[in-house]
Symmetry: C3
Subunit: 261 residues, 3 copies
């Protein structure tokens, strides 16, 4: 397989492909050569795509999908360390956009969904995953802390003991564990992911439009303000951690291990 | 099987049979010829039965059960469209009665439990279901929105993704899915439903009376005010939706399909 | 097996064995001759052990474990009835210590975990149990009410219907049910409990120390005040119940049944 390696500091827009088909806008992470590791440019592109979906009356449902075999390896650490992480960082803007999205979001996960790749699913309305999906929130291994609302939403969903295991040990878990915990709606074979997630989007798009909008507002609305606040509070601790010797040492160790041999 | 069709506008009290046996008051939905579809008169009868159970010191436990093969098809739409739905509607009175009930309620579900047939279970303390029970909250298909507290209680119980699936797609789910989500305590064969639900009621009735009352108060009390408020807020949106062209069109389509061919 | 019966009113400190090995402090309930029934002295010893763990910078993780075949039969009723239960009771002090613990607690359960033996697990961060573990909260059978935060935390974890079953019927449930409900992280064979719980402690102790501390703070912090308040509110009702004729009769019946034949 030929891999085209793009320079990380200036990713072209093609690393996120946005396409509208009927009432469904698909946001496709498309940087397979880096396992869909998310750069600042990719976060920005996702935020724009969500904004466009919100503004376009023809769009009723958003689908978020990765590549065959990988949803996302998480934050691109090399890229991440070049841009200061602050309250305006695109990653935070993406999380805010997801929390405040008014149209339903269907996520489709195959392969690894690391870090924010797992926490962003908490803000999606339906999640389909393949039996080779692997979820992981390994923040602690880098000396970091839970983000994306996970410190509150994951215990609320999966219970404190299970959320603790995932966030304190940082081990990966599979689609069946995720389904049992309530994070995943359906587990399908890899070949069926595209079609199953598409069919769900089409079914949602066919529902009475205003009832659909109101149903999402009623399900998500009561927790929206608290969730947004949790994300900001977590980000404040996260930023402090990034500057800590503990995290710096963990990052250095991780990057040296991740370096090409 | 001979079916006696009663005029919907004036259902006799027999559509809800209330009987006390020992310390257990059974409320039995008994309109099998219409799949136990709930009329204004039936809601009223249930409210009266709950009030009587509350007032009667001899009653310690309430059992709510349907007919073999059907719990309830939900709101009787024809009946519903004849009476204006407002803040004093018997359906709302029933939900309020369930939320404020001080004595434990055991629900027994066989066959379809549609709409309020599923949402009222959120307010029951123990739920037994048969392996042919089918739960469904298809409000959205009628252009309507979650009711009965389900927009908040269902995500709290089953997680947001699962609650979203049930409320946004409106698909039925079986007793095993309901048990896994925590809505159902036990799944039994249809022939065992009457006996199993009865045995649970008897066991509850045999517990120290004041400890039983306090246990329910401690489990339900902390959420009672918020739940009551959610029900009212949902009802306000629900009433607005009923007057919307979207819902009217959906109702018209549904009733034309449901009409005898 | 020779059983050494100690006088309940003056249990030696050996009924709780505290040992530090590396960064892990193990608190081992060690009164097998009374199925680890908890006395005032044992609660006090546990509180001291948690305080020592908190003060000792070398300790990063606490492990709480019982004996092979028994976690704890719960409160030692004979001992309990000799000491007045008030706001300073060691059992309450233990619950408060668990709620406010800043270092992760790993619980390891084999055999019965009765009453507080189950409710204290709600305050542990990871729980390993064997396939012969039996959880039970039979307060109601003694005319008592939920304690240890269970009236709020158990519904939040397992859902209201499941929590109701466990607290209103008081039946035991096994490790698989506990795992499904989210109370237990892993189910292992009895022979593997010591090692598995130890390995989890070691893995936690190896995480970046400050990230570990912050992760627990972020997961537990948001609920800590409310949980502490629930425990106090429950205790107030519990104390009142102890003085009730209903509970006294239930206790008398229980003790007469439990007396040696």
């Amino acid at each position: 397989m030929t891999r085209i390696v793009e320079p990380a500091e200036n990713p072209p827009p093609e690393h996120v492909v946005v396409e509208r088909q009927g009432a469904v806008q698909t946001i496709r992470l498309a940087r397979p050569e880096k396992k869909n590791a998310l750069t600042v440019a990719m976060y920005t592109r996702c935020v724009e795509a969500l904004r466009a979906a919100h503004a376009d009356e023809a769009v009723r449902v958003v689908r978020l999908i990765g590549q065959p075999g990988v949803f996302t390896a998480g934050n691109d650490l090399a890229d991440f360390m070049q841009a200061p992480f602050d309250a305006n960082s695109p990653v935070l803007q993406l999380l805010r956009s997801l929390v405040h999205a008014e149209k339903p979001i269907v996520a489709a996960v195959d392969g690894p969904a690391v870090g924010i790749g797992t926490t962003l699913l908490l803000h999606c309305d339906l999640v389909v995953a393949t039996d080779r999906a692997r979820f992981q929130m390994p923040f602690i291994k880098l000396g970091l802390v839970p983000e994306g609302g996970s410190s509150v939403l994951m215990p609320a969903l999966a219970g404190l003991q299970r959320a603790t295991e995932w966030l304190m040990l940082g081990d990966p878990f599979d689609a069946h564990a995720a389904r049992e915990a309530g994070l995943v709606n359906r587990v399908v074979e890899p070949a069926a992911l595209e079609e199953t997630s598409w069919a769900l989007c089409e079914r949602l798009a066919a529902q009475p439009a205003e009832a659909l909008r109101l149903t999402k507002a009623m399900l998500r609305g009561p927790q929206r303000a608290a969730t947004a606040q949790t994300i900001e509070a977590e980000a404040a601790v996260f930023m402090e951690r990034l500057r800590s010797p503990e995290a710096m040492a963990a990052f250095a160790g991780f990057l040296s291990k991740a370096a090409p041999r």
